[in-house]
Amino acid sequence: MTISETRSISRQMTSQPDYLDLRRQDLNSTYRPQREWIEGRGILIVIAHFFAGIGAGAWIFSILFDYRVGEIMAVVSIGLSGLAHLAFLGRWQRFLRILARPNSSWVSRGMWGTLLYGIGALVYFLPGVRDTLMGSISLGISLFGVTLVLLCSGYVYSVSKAIPFWHTVLVPILYIAYGLRGGVALLLVAAVFGGSSLDIDTMETIKLWVLASTIVLILFYLIIANRSGGAASYSVHELVAGRISVAFYGGTIGIGILVPLALAIGREFGLAGMLTLGIIGFASLIGDFYVKYCVVKAGTYVPLGDAVGPVSPKIV
């Protein structure tokens, strides 16, 4: 063995940074990315919020259109969201503690939303309850629950003053919009596979409206964030030209917006068929996942350390 072979320095050190190395490097970087809610098991948080959003949207529209298959899908989605949450926490025996602080914590409120929704939906589904007063009350509770869920999943992020990209009311709005859009999309997919009584055209109109509004919202959000400077514009940079751009262009924009848009326009020009609809729905769902993935992943903390400088350098 030659000497230089025995000593291929730093290469080992920096080529395959593991979780700990990253954490150590992060602590010293100017723009520190949040990793806890995206990397490793952290992805479960995005999955949980994805299912919560589409489940809530689907529940609302299913009730609106009285669509049974959709109701079940909503229950399943929200259930999956709950499971993902539990899996993320790891210490599921203790998760009920999360209910302790609804007065100040959006995580707590979201948990209450899920719980209320669960109780409401459960009662609502009991045989013979649906058309009674009890049914209306439980429905009310479930709707209150999902609204809370819809609201909270965005607010959980937007309360973080430490992460300027999230710290705006646009995030909850975006989450609500995407939740509703995802709900419709879920129903579309359900309609394609589940067959249905659903008023497809109305659904599609709603879908188009929400699609349009999400496009506007996202643009608005990015422009505002980019103008906020510092960590927020760094986040935008990460999305449009950095670490997350593939997911952003491919997932959020490409699959999530352009594909549904193209197909929707295609339908106007005669590209008919349930399959197209299904694809629109499916693509929207993927887009819904990716928008959340991108927003969460782009979360970057306010820089520390610049506060003490620049100290006036002495002229030597």
Partner: protein, 864 residues
């Protein structure tokens, strides 16, 4: 793998034990917390003047050395017959009996043949057992081939001047009073150096009180980070800056301390055109010119009224000049313009630094301290590794030192202090004590403790060059305190045919393959010797060279009586004296054994106990009834007990120290600021260098040793370029190393807490390059690059772009890039600088045996 061998006791064990840190040579006082047999925390010991209860990161992290699963736990024997760098030694675990049989047999054979064929080297990281063995075993064995942890990279040049100017081994600035501290390539109390933890407290106080800190350094080091002014300098050019400052002070600003120079230095001694002092023919004593009588007189003539320090005097047709006049003239060529060209420091800055320093010294002022009136010179310089680590070490160090000498800021309040050259001893016993005297020539004669005090200031000055048969050149150039020059001479049989070659190398810790220079050189020098490696790890040196490895205890598992050497790392300034004890916090784990105890047994089996006991008595100055009897075997505990009782009285024996950890008493003003009370003079004009140089030249000629060049043996400050200074075609940069406060050389790269610091900090595992320089070379941050040395050797690493480094310089931290199989945790972390440094006499300053520790290099991109 069992993680501890100490058994939990039935009763809950929960104790704090006073002891001493061993993560660098500073030996700070610690308190170790042991619970149920496990060391759970190390804190500073507030009772100890070594740190006053505050430790550096390394000291706190020592627990991880104790419990490191990669430690060597059993004696090991090499089974791979091939020695070599990167070779797997294929260690085989053997028993201690077998190991001792082998060691004793080998040593006995060498002793019968020629004791000088036993070489010993060691690491300053484990100072106490090293000093103990060097001072007792080696003389008892009869070998003088001692090479220590790379003195050629460490403090050799400074230690010489600490001896001749400050009667000590080293120096530290008196920051309790300094108003202006000018550092050349060192970081006292700012990350490194002697008495680090105490100096850190003192320097922080001084800076808070308004002391101005100026740091001359090519790299924006930890010290420079805190400086009021960072002065980036081209590596290897500090001497030019200091010479120019001397020139400005002496020839333009007229700032110097006439009184001090007259009385406390050889400034008035007349020097002839031959370069020697003008001496009285009868007494042989140096002469001075008496201005009153207009005649030459012996320097200590009672009739002398006022000696001249400037001018030129004719005596019997020959012209003589006072040493100070010689100095003045010598530095005239060092104009700020010339120095600026060499150092890359702006002319105005050089002028301003000289003026600021000179004015800050307040020549003529006095101060009352504890009722004693003393000269007050609140300006100090300090230099170490960075400034003197070049083959122009001697004249450079001299120039920087003389800045303090000419303004009288030497061993008086506010100036540069020798590290405790005067000790009156414990109030009860007046021991241990030492004090400088005046030599026959009136020059400083350092006091010593015992005769063999290792690494102490030598009292016999300068040792006479006698020959060139010792690999370390100790017979030729005998004054450097530590020398690891051996590879240079051993690898050059043509020039050094007659030197004793090593048959056995006893290596206590030193990882010389990594710390000396290019590892190939150290390997080559010792590959044919039987190598006994005593270490706590299987490091690069062990794996390439060792035939046998003995597992040492680490500092937390052993007893080291008197770990402190007060002229190395005891804080300067007023405060407390302190003697400590290092004692085991846990019993040695596995089969680790304390080296000092192993050597006692080896001595016994070699039958040299009698001389060993004698050497021990000499080294520690033991007198009856505590001196060791010739014909008795002593345990280390017994020896320790005798040393303590001898020095501090029967009530302060080993048991007292075990219980209390540290014995302190206050320093006196006359001990700390000793210069006004002392008769020995500091040397401005180094006649001894001229004399020794000529003798060495003569020996070199007689023996035809062309490698020994004596042009550098100059008596006065000067500057010439070091080897790495000038560009060579294609090689356009200089590479240097610097230390960080949380690593010691190469050893601490194995310590995870300290590694974690480096992983989070952005410089120390990288090669630092100036951002603008990188831009012109098309290099980016984090690029994988190769640095190729013009003198052979190359190394790879990743780039870090920074504004905090001289544009012509690549800066690398400490000594990383381990490759030993036995150091899996440290492997590949950081950059291995020393691969760029060749080991030969051409790259050395022969006066001090200091190596050029920077390299002329080019940089190549290897990958992104």
């Amino acid at each position: 793998m069992p993680s501890t061998a100490s058994k939990p006791t039935a009763n809950k064990d929960d104790v704090w034990i006073p002891s001493v840190c061993g993560m660098c040579y500073n030996q700070c006082g610690i308190l170790a917390h042991r619970v149920d047999g496990t060391l759970v925390k190390i804190e500073g010991n507030p009772a100890s003047p070594y740190g006053n209860g505050r430790l550096c990161a390394r000291g706190l992290a020592g627990i991880q050395v104790l419990y490191d699963p990669h430690r060597v736990n059993y004696p090991l024997k090499r089974t791979n017959p091939n020695k070599g760098i990167g070779e797997d030694p294929r260690w085989q675990r053997i028993g201690w009996d077998e190991a001792m049989d082998i060691v004793v047999e080998k040593l006995a054979a060498v002793r019968d043949d020629d004791p000088d064929k036993l070489f010993m080297t060691g690491t300053v990281l484990s100072l106490a057992p090293l000093n103990h063995t060097l001072g007792t075993f080696m003389p008892a064995f009869g070998s003088s081939n001692i090479l220590i942890s790379d003195g050629h990279q460490c403090g050799n040049a400074e230690h010489i001047l600490a001896r001749t100017l400050h009667a000590s081994v080293t120096t530290n600035p008196d920051v309790d009073y300094t108003n202006y501290l000018l550092l050349f390539g060192c970081q006292p109390g700012l990350g490194t150096y002697y008495a680090m933890t105490t100096m850190a407290q003192k320097i922080a106080d001084a800076r808070a009180r308004g002391m101005k800190l100026v740091v001359v350094d090519p790299y924006l080091s930890t010290a420079a980070e805190k400086a009021d002014e960072w002065v980036p300098i081209k590596p290897g050019s500090d001497g030019a800056l200091a010479c120019a400052m001397l020139n400005l002070l002496l020839n333009e600003y007229d700032i110097y301390d006439r009184g001090y120079l007259e009385h406390h230095t050889d400034a008035p001694y007349l020097v002839g055109t031959d370069g020697y002092y003008h001496r009285d023919t009868d007494t042989g004593k140096p002469m001075v010119w008496d201005l009153a009588a207009e005649t030459a007189r012996i320097f200590d003539d009672e009739d002398l009224v006022r000696p001249a320090i400037v001018g030129s005097f004719k005596l019997e047709a020959e012209t003589f000049k006072p040493a100070f006049q010689m100095l003045k003239e010598r530095v005239t060529k060092w104009t700020p313009e010339l120095a600026s060209e060499i150092t890359t420091i702006p002319i105005d800055t050089i002028r301003r630094l000289a003026r600021e320093f000179g004015e800050a010294a307040q020549v003529g002022s006095t101060i009352m301290i504890d009722g004693v009136e003393l000269p007050f010179r609140p300006a100090a310089t300090l230099y170490f590794k960075g400034a003197h680590g070049h083959d122009n070490a001697w004249p450079t160090s001299l120039a920087i030192e003389l800045l303090c000498e000419v303004v009288g800021a030497s061993n008086v309040p506010g100036g540069l202090l020798g590290t405790n050259p005067v000790a009156f001893g414990h109030p009860d016993t007046k021991l241990p004590r030492w004090q400088p005297k005046a030599s026959k020539d009136g020059l400083i004669e350092a006091g010593t403790l015992g005769k063999n005090e290792p690494m102490g200031p030598s009292s016999n000055w300068p040792p006479e060059p006698t020959g060139a048969d010792t690999a370390s050149l100790i017979d030729l150039i005998g004054w450097p305190i530590t020398t690891c020059t051996a590879p240079a001479t051993l690898n050059d049989p043509e020039n050094f045919p007659s030197i004793t070659r090593p048959a056995v190398l006893l290596n206590y810790g030193s990882n010389l393959l990594m710390s000396a220079a290019q590892p190939e050189a150290s390997f080559e020098a010792f590959k044919d010797a039987f190598v006994i490696n005593v270490n706590i790890y299987s490091d690069e040196t062990a794996e390439a060279l060792a035939d046998i490895v003995l597992p040492d205890t680490c500092y937390l598992e052993r007893l080291d009586p008197v770990p402190n050497w007060l002229r190395h790392h005891h804080p300067v300034g007023l405060g407390d004296w302190g003697y400590q004890i290092r004692q085991p916090i846990v019993e040695p784990m596995y089969e680790r054994r304390h080296f000092s105890e192993v050597m006692l047994e080896v001595s016994r089996r070699l039958g040299i106990t009698e001389t060993l006991n004698l050497a021990t008595n000499l080294m520690y100055g033991l007198t009856a009834p505590q001196s060791l009897a010739a014909d008795e075997d002593y345990t280390l505990e017994e020896i320790g007990d005798r040393i303590y009782q001898n020095w501090f009285g029967p009530e302060h024996g080993l048991d007292w120290f075990r219980k209390h950890g540290v014995l302190t008493w206050p320093k006196q003003v006359e001990e700390v600021y000793w210069k006004p009370f002392s008769v020995g003079r500091a040397q401005i004009y180094n006649e001894w260098v001229v004399r020794s140089g000529e003798k060495i030249k003569q020996i070199a000629e007689e023996r035809s040793l062309p490698g020994i060049k004596t042009d550098g043996f100059v008596p006065l400050p000067d500057w010439w370029p070091c080897r790495a200074f000038d560009q060579r075609p294609g090689y356009d940069m200089q590479a240097i190393y610097y230390r960080v406060p949380w690593h010691s050389f190469s050893q601490t790269y194995s310590t995870p807490w300290l590694d974690e610091i480096s992983q989070g900090e952005q410089y120390s595992y990288f090669i630092c390059i100036n951002t603008q320089t990188a831009a012109t070379k098309g290099l980016n941050d984090n690029d994988l690059v190769r640095i190729v040395s013009a003198d052979g050797g190359n190394v790879e690493g990743r780039l870090r772009l920074t504004q905090g480094v001289h544009p012509g310089v690549l800066a690398i931290a400490n000594n990383g890039g381990h490759w030993a199989h036995g150091l899996p945790f440290a492997k590949g972390k950081g950059v291995f600088f020393n691969q760029l440094l060749p080991m030969d006499l051409e790259h050395m300053d022969l006066v001090s045996l200091t190596m050029d520790c920077d390299a002329r290099v080019r940089i190549e991109k290897v990958g992104g």
